[in-house]
Amino acid sequence: MRTTRLMLAAGALAASTAMAAAQDGGQLNIYNWGNYTSPEMIEKFEEETGITVTVTDFDSNDTALTRIRAGGHGFDIVVPSNNYVPIWVEAGLLQELDPEEIPNMANIAERWRDVPWDPNRTHTVPWQWGTTGVIVNTSVYEGDIDTSAIFLDPPDELKGKINVIPEMTDVMNMTVRYVGGEQCTEDRDILRQARDKLVEAKQHWIALDYGTVDAYAAGDIAAGVYWNGASMRARLQNEDLAYGYPKEGYPIWMDSAAILTDAQNTENAKKFLNFVLEPENAAMISEFARYANGVEGSDEFMPEDMTTAPEIVVAPEHEEAAYFSVTCPAETQQLYTQIWTELLR
């Protein structure tokens, strides 16, 4: 809601005072996931720089990629997920970044500096990162929740009350890990086991749906596959909810901000990337979206409920089961789609 109002206001402002805006800091057009950009942080950026910011939402990596590829989009900054960054870079859609021009790149936490999807951070800077795990209402089920069995071999208490996010690749890979394979596997035997497991489990699912923070909080849904930040938002509404890290394997992802090759406002975009790498500003994004940010020193600016949240701070015993999701090759993707279609027929 805030974002929408801000966008409207920004639009009206841009229309009525286009001249004034041009004299000020100019424009910046950000293309980001919905409900993911802190309006307070944007306001602060606008005040400091005089740049008028417009934020436009996308709902999936594929949507974003398709729209930018089509051209004529008018965006300067985009925030793709780690597994899509190589596609963007390979397609030449992102500008190379110069640490001299974005000095705050020095603030990127050690762990996120040299990452497999963007070696030495030549094209992107961290925005937010998180995990995909399971959420369980502990008033309904008290057993072990750090397992994918929650949705693949559900205990009786949870049967018929499980929601699974319709993210094909994440759900497929978690299932493949559960039956003993590796992500993006082409091993037919593993795939057969994964398919059988999914078909059997699906009869216990009530839905494959995205937007369910309220449904979890209200108790409509008792368990499911969910993102850590959203799980935390749900727990703040209902403290019976807990987030589990499946020991069989769960994906970690990081969304990273980058400047588009055909950006109209490259200089403003650089200012913005530098701005979000300031610990205080990164903390504002985290406070809004409820995910960790990968900027060193931002913890001290974060509210305490974030720095102690079990959904955000991954305990050492859960670190080993995490894997970075990669983009599967086209062949695997087709096998996955075929199984997925079979599952949802």
């Binding site: 999936s60 594929d62 949507t63 990629l65 398709t66 590829r69 596609i87 397609a91 929601n163 319709p166 993210e167 094909m168 690749t169 037919r188 795939l191 057969r192 699906k202 699912w205 009530i206 839905a207 494959l208 749906d209 449904a215 209200a218 108790g219 409509d220 983009t327 090759p329 086209a330 993707q333 087709q334 096998l335 996955y336 789609t337 075929q338 199984i339 997925w340 279609t341 079979e342 949802l344 027929r345």
Partner: protein
């Protein structure tokens, strides 16, 4: 310019000599619409057709090599375990589910729409516009918002269940959300006005003296309805059915939000290929298959309307 030229044409319409010029003028009037249709409908459709005969790109998009694999995958599937080729029964199931849903929606809106339209058509002429205006109110709000509103009403902790439990009619919430019932409810709600409006249009023209004649000849109310009213408002039913059936078969938002996404509809299946599945040629071929189904349905309607017309004139 148009106002000046329109006036004499309007005055001349009854004169045969002016007829030819009038027809030419009408063609000019329709030209902008034809251009828009050509550019906005036929153009993209052609692109979809071409894409359906190409190879999928690794990360979405297409590779410009001719391939019939997209079309092959619509109808056949290679077993991922032993590579045997079998009919794509999963796709067939999804097609059939969408067709069934569209048929049910048409039927329900027809049953609910008939009395509604009848009610409006039998009001005094000066209050009819008010009732029609009320029918169009749902169009003021975005479809997604209305669908989420329905979700709020029928969810476990929602309005209906709370009322039922407060009144003691049920002790536990009835699971309505994420069921086929929810999908049908949402679809009927969304498409009802599209059935009511054409039905009303045909009822408004109805000559009520014919009904009186029927009663005078000792016909029962049911007989009057069956032999007089229904045949006369049939064009309204047909127009309404077309308006409801065609968008219903490709419905995407309502089944997804209210049905919970456990089963794919045609629209979701097509989206899967363009999104996470990254198989645009298959998506294009599926979209065109949907188009063919719609065209077949239209031809069926046209045939069923053409016959009585022919009898009347010949």
């Amino acid at each position: 310019m148009s106002a000046v030229e329109l006036a004499p044409h309007g005055a001349d319409t009854d004169k045969p000599k002016a007829a030819r010029g009038d027809i030419a003028w009408r063609w000019w009037l329709v030209t902008p619409a034809l251009i828009v249709l050509l550019l906005a409908a036929s153009g993209p459709l052609l692109i979809v057709l071409v894409y359906s005969f190409l190879e999928p790109g690794s990360f979405g998009g297409v590779v410009w090599n001719f391939s019939t694999e997209g079309w092959f995958q619509v109808f056949f599937t290679r077993d991922i375990f032993d590579e045997t080729v079998a009919p794509a029964t999963a796709h067939l199931d999804i097609f059939w589910r969408s067709i069934k849903l569209a048929l049910y929606t048409t039927l329900i809106t027809a049953i609910l729409g008939f009395p509604t339209a009848w009610f409006i058509a039998t009001r005094a002429p000066d209050v009819r516009p008010i009732w029609l205006f009320l029918v169009t109110i749902p169009f003021w709000t975005n479809l997604v918002i209305r669908t989420f509103a329905i979700q709020e009403v029928i969810r476990n902790e929602g309005l209906v269940n709370n009322i039922l439990m407060t009144l003691g009619i049920t002790s536990a919430p009835i699971q309505m959300l994420f069921t086929d019932f929810a999908i049908l409810l949402g679809m009927a709600y969304v498409f009802l006005p599209l059935m009511v409006l054409p039905l009303y249009a045909s009822m408004e023209k109805l000559d009520f003296k014919l009904l009186e004649a029927g009663y005078d000849l000792y016909a029962t109310r049911l007989k009057v309805l069956w032999h007089i009213v229904l045949p006369l408002v049939k064009p309204g039913f047909i127009a309404g059915s077309i308006l409801v059936f065609i968008p219903a078969i490709g419905a995407y938002v309502t089944p997804r939000i209210l049905g919970g996404g456990r089963n794919l509809m045609l629209g979701n299946l097509i989206e899967l290929q363009f999104g996470q599945g990254r198989n645009w040629p298959l998506g294009s071929a599926l979209a065109l298959t949907l188009l063919v189904i719609v065209v077949i349905a239209l031809l069926f309607y046209i045939r069923s309307t053409a016959q009585p017309e022919g009898r009347r004139h010949g």
